[in-house]
Symmetry: C2
Subunit: 197 residues, 2 copies
């Protein structure tokens, strides 16, 4: 139909979440219409992101610096560590602007169904971060799903022997809800009313 390069571009774009074949075709036509202002900058930025952005060795955040901008920001409280499932959840908390400590990204949740065990999550890295003695409180901000709660319990057990306070986001996070879908107010309230475990 269209040339092979265009077909290939449609197929690649159709693999993005939220886009199917039809919207990918529309996206390609839009990109070609806005070649100088959208297609060329997008190609360059994708390439730059691909070459420079990596997971932070300390916290798992995605950044062009390693350790990342959050881990090296001296204005942020290194005594407070917020454990999240994913970078998407870290971004959600940052957008809400309600947390001024640092993060630890697990990279998923325990799930027997999906075959995700403790070794598949960055829990050892979390324990290792306790060795500095600087972390006073670990706030577990996994999602309020069954897997998120199972993971929270597991982490609580693993941290039991450490000299840190452990807390959990307050209910306020709707049961079954995911952080990335919550408004800033709800996120802020849940963080403020966090309860010790």
């Amino acid at each position: 139909m269209a040339g092979p390069e265009i077909e290939r571009l449609i197929q690649l774009l159709a693999r993005l979440p939220g886009l199917g074949p039809r919207s990918a075709r529309r996206a390609v036509l839009h990109l070609l219409k806005k070649k100088d202002t959208l297609l060329v900058p997008l190609a360059a930025t994708l390439r730059e992101v691909g070459e420079t952005v990596h997971a932070c060795d300390t916290c798992g955040n995605l950044d062009s610096r390693n350790p990342c901008g959050i881990c090296t920001d001296s204005r942020r409280d290194e005594a407070l560590l917020c454990v999240v499932e994913s970078v998407a959840d870290l971004w959600a908390l940052e957008r809400a602007g309600v947390f001024r400590g640092r993060y630890h990204v697990l990279g998923g949740t325990l799930s027997a169904l999906d075959g995700v065990g403790p070794d598949d999550l960055n829990v050892d890295g979390l324990i290792a971060r306790m060795q500095s003695g600087k972390v006073r409180e670990v706030i577990i901000a996994t999602n309020a799903t069954v897997e998120g709660q199972t993971t929270a319990h597991y982490i609580t057990d693993r941290l039991a022997s450490q000299n840190v306070q452990i807390s959990r986001l307050a209910h306020g996070v709707p049961v079954g809800g995911e952080l990335d879908y919550l408004d800033d107010g709800t996120l802020g309230a849940a963080l403020k009313a966090r309860r010790p475990l």
Copy 2:
């Protein structure tokens, strides 16, 4: 929040039709997760498409060749010319596989509201293509919208002095409907039952 490269990528992706800021963020995380199999090939393909794909000087189709693959395909009937509003509509007809002639892309429709006049559409190019004497029939396949029908009438008038038969896609295209949203069967039926103007 995230680094400036990531923020820029989110902003660019959010400008694609069908994606908003939230889905753009999810797309970026997905791209970074599938860096080697999706992000890198997408950046390269975007760049290649940006550098090689242009509008065909003959018909307005988008292709890396000029004249395009359709214009130079000797198996296609050069006596049949199908006039469409956009490359999206050309793609829709090609996907349906119901037309084996060639195309002419107008690049829009007449619209007093949007300030689109005859000079903004590639109508002169269409008239010029009649000079070869090889085109026997022009099938006007503009959308069944008010603008599409106004444009069809205008083109019919412009072609009146040419020695060609003019036809229009049969009703079968739902009134108010756009070609790009139709199933192949409807498109094929509408083409077969096209009526002379």
